[in-house]
Subunit: 337 residues, 4 copies
């Protein structure tokens, strides 16, 4: 931690300040410049409340030096984390494809889509049962019934199920029916939910909030990990910017940046990032080329009649065509689908 | 709703499309331009899923004409909504000041601050018991204990209590101890929580998500109102932009814009918007001048030793000085404190 | 300047690094923490190219401690700068109002508007002659002719003229016809233009780029001031954010922040910030309450038929009404109009 | 163009309005809904000033239907534009690599870098002579001398030269020494400069402003094209968002979006987008995978001692390694390097 002192602070005031800070069990080293005095603090600064210091009259600003996340930090865990779900390993050589509808609509639909995306190369199935919708008047999902339909599709196809949780009270249900619990973009900083997920044993797909920084995403992973659950998969799904031509702006740089800062696997959701079906292919190709470990893609048997997000869903045929393009790219990159 | 058809769509295709859309119980009127064909849809378009239409091959884009919020819309409710809490009326002539610490720390502290801010002109007390913190390693609030301390301070001072809820499971507790339930910026789109709040009878202070649009804020109000609870107070608290000199960017225009679009009262939180105590005064003055109905301000007896957000808290003395400046401004604006 | 060294850097490597940095004529002080080593650099760091250092293999990141602007910095110039133009003093007790059309359209129009806004309390006249328009097919301004018309209006009313320059080659013309040269939002980082303006003697109204930070605005002021022209007026005019309900987001906090960081006067342009005429009043009130030294407002005799920006222009009557509200507010704030 | 009328407008007022709008030579078709009346306007709406209409008391909002750019629009020019510079064709099968230093520093340096990047697969050379720098105290480029050094490197290597112009007055110089004139991110809306470039015959590399939309980029291309110069290459180089972990946020979706909306070639600048050398490879890979026609990359013989942007520059060796990875990717995509 670095303190920049206010212009005009005297040497005596500085030494006083350093002594006071020393009382928190850290070491404060003043450096006297011509215009500016700075104080470098070393030791276990996590025990200091930054506010206590920031409020001191002699201090202009406090600059953090260390990243605030520990368990998610590659510095202290150089090897890639591998998350195993059924017979799928996430974060290794295999590029994992999860595919399925935005909203689960019926048992037949889920079985149909699951078997088709499996054939095309998907090794996981996605589907929404509890839907967070901007409008109270929009379809809110089949809820528990939707999870049940996905479970049946899993029993038939063997594909593990990813689905989004929206309330800590649903956890029992998710523990029973779902293989990977997804935290949606609007819940990335629902800390009450994150704490609960830290105590469960399921793998967690943690989507980046559409206006959260990379550091905040890693802090949310830290919430889950510090509770005891280290099976976290990060997911970039586009951020909110001034640009309105696309639904969101896919932050492609976040992929290599997250892989460097953290040891956790990184997924990309090209369907929500672009918001339109014809963008799924170029964004999926780009995500793989940038180092993503997996993709989560909306596939619907009949996008025109989908109950939600039809405009960004692929048909099973389009998904098949997509995987036929992704496969040689994966090979070129030393990976496989 | 307006449909813009793809370049090259024929007249016959257009008429076909209009017939199909007519089957949803609305009227579709084509307008043939030189380059572009547009179709205007009138009638109850809320029954049409926008995706169904957006996916049609003939359609380039769909433009919404009507605002998607009804109950929060001033068009259908021209008079200001007045929210009454105890003997305080929000949204009327009086500018309501809610003040108190970021985190409740002890019973003595709450009583001390509450009595001081009351003396300075506050008519409500704020305080955090369940704290949503970015880091799992930061203080998470006194939880139920914190609510109890606020209740005691209310019993002594008569000031109604505003506090933030973070989980639907806390609702019983809040129904008992709190007068206005605050939905924090990170929970503005926690729809499960909003639905629950729609079924309770308490007034709700709904803070704008730091990256949510004005329309999304009104849609979240709509969630609560459509559940049956129309006592909603909107709160602008700064948005996330590229500027880093301030903690957030106070969207001052949102105040007159919300007052025009909606009949609900509008509060401003200058403490979180600026993130630093010396900005509270100019931002509070600006908020009143722009038409705010109330302010929610962080006041701490000892900001240097506050357990959270000390750098943006005022001392009770500074709050007293602030209100002495706000009072004549309120009078000039035809209101009162 | 602070260097944070890479995890794993040894003590020997650190001392080597400090010695190398010392060779630039500054002093490098290492501080050894448990996880992290930091190096504080003091002395005249402006002589070091930050890249030279940032590229060193041992360095994780470089953090700047000092603000990079000197002449615009209040630290080294505690008193407010007063800019005098004719008999108007900007940055003192008087709140200065500049008003006029987006585009100059004719001599009669300018004379008509100038005399009316003068009556209402404006002490300067604004008008666009060289118009930067997003579309090549839109009206581009009357150019030199427009400046001439403004000069005539000045001769009759005595109001100094503010107008926007868009090319260094126009400087001769502006030196002759204009009293305050405006740098528009799209030219805030047109450094070639800024350098030229540093060599002229006219006051400069420097508008903030719609996506530039407060620090970048002050760096652009620094360009002009370091060339020898210290008569710079800063102008906040709204920034680009994700919100689309208003044309731009007025960064109200920028007013007190700029006043604190710099000694230069600060104007606000509520017309461009809101983009719609009914927002001009609340934003003007808020700007004054937050500490602005002046306002620049679009006024048009016939907004419906204005050649540009009519939707955000006030009529002279509406401007008169506005000033009748601003005047008592100015008095309350200890200032005058 | 669509008009949404204010709530409460009568049928008679609507018909009046339509008649008035018809007087501009277009056809106005009213559609009467239950809550809302909309008016569809067809015909040549470019002759109508949107403000004239937007200011009418009966109108709530005006929605544009047609894209405002014509010459840059793929709708009216379905085939890809090929820009030919020397023996390099841009926008065809070949992926074009332009490489070189941020700032030209000496003749020897340019010759050295140019010959090395040519060997590695670059077919164009980039270098900055006129440097737009945020600080007036930073190195401003060798100016004319820099262009001369690049010309000499071209004479020896045959590589065409790309360099940035910052002032219309430099055009004569650029016409003589440079093959592709670059418009930098800060000048994308320097309309005076764009107009001048419309009258020259050189190819123009138009970089997206860091806060400009895709539509605004195409409107700036339209400025140049409407002046008579259709040799425009678009360049995505990262946009400004709330994320600070990278220098800018590469808008990867802009590549397929620009290719769909326009027929012009699209380049990507991974060096400025990421702002750090190790990000150049993943971003370059992603850019190609998303459909880019070329890359412009900073390469410096000695990044540690570069006069600007060293932290984001590759060494010639690293550039060689990069092209060895890009080449098989290009082949996989049906293109070549």
């Amino acid at each position: 931690m670095i303190l920049v002192l206010k212009y005009g602070t005297t040497k005596e005031q500085t030494l006083d300040l350093c002594q006071w800070i020393g009382s928190f069990g850290v070491q404060a080293n003043p450096i006297f410049g011509s215009d500016t005095i700075i104080v470098g603090i070393v030791g276990d600064t996590s025990s200091i409340d930054i506010n206590t210091i920031e409020n001191d009259d002699r201090i202009e600003k406090v600059m953090k030096v260390q990243e605030p996340f520990k368990k998610a930090n590659r510095k202290f865990h150089p090897d890639n984390t591998l998350v195993k779900v059924g017979n799928v390993t996430i974060g290794g050589k295999q590029i994992v494809l999860a595919a399925g509808p935005c909203s689960v609509e019926s048992e037949e639909q889920m079985i149909d889509i699951a078997s088709k995306v499996k054939q095309a190369g998907a090794t996981m199935m996605r589907g929404g049962a509890f839907k967070p919708r901007t409008s109270p008047y929009a379809f809110q999902g089949l809820r528990a019934e939707g999870l049940l339909y996905m479970k049946r599709a899993r029993d038939l196809t063997g594909l593990p199920v990813v689905s989004e949780i929206t309330n800590p009270s649903q956890l029992e249900l998710f523990n029973e029916y779902v293989d990977i619990i997804q935290v949606g973009t609007r819940n990335m900083q629902n800390f009450e939910l994150l704490k609960e997920l830290g105590h469960c044993k399921k793998a967690i797909l943690l989507k980046r909030g559409f206006s959260n920084t990379i550091e905040e995403l890693l802090m949310s992973a830290e919430y889950i990990m510090s509770g005891g659950n280290e099976n976290v998969i990060l997911c970039e799904r586009g951020i909110r910017t001034f640009e309105t031509a696309t639904r969101n702006t896919l932050d492609i740089s976040a992929i290599p940046m997250l892989k460097r800062m953290s040891h956790l696997p990184v997924f990309v959701d090209p369907s929500h990032a672009g918001g339109i079906s014809w963008l799924v292919e170029p964004l999926s190709m780009a995500a793989l080329a940038a180092g993503a470990d997996g993709l989560i893609i909306e596939v619907h048997n009949d996008p025109k009649n989908a109950w939600s997000d039809g405009q960004q869903s692929l048909t099973p045929e389009a998904f098949m065509e997509l995987t036929s393009k992704l496969r040689p790219l994966a090979t070129l990159l030393g990976r496989e689908i």
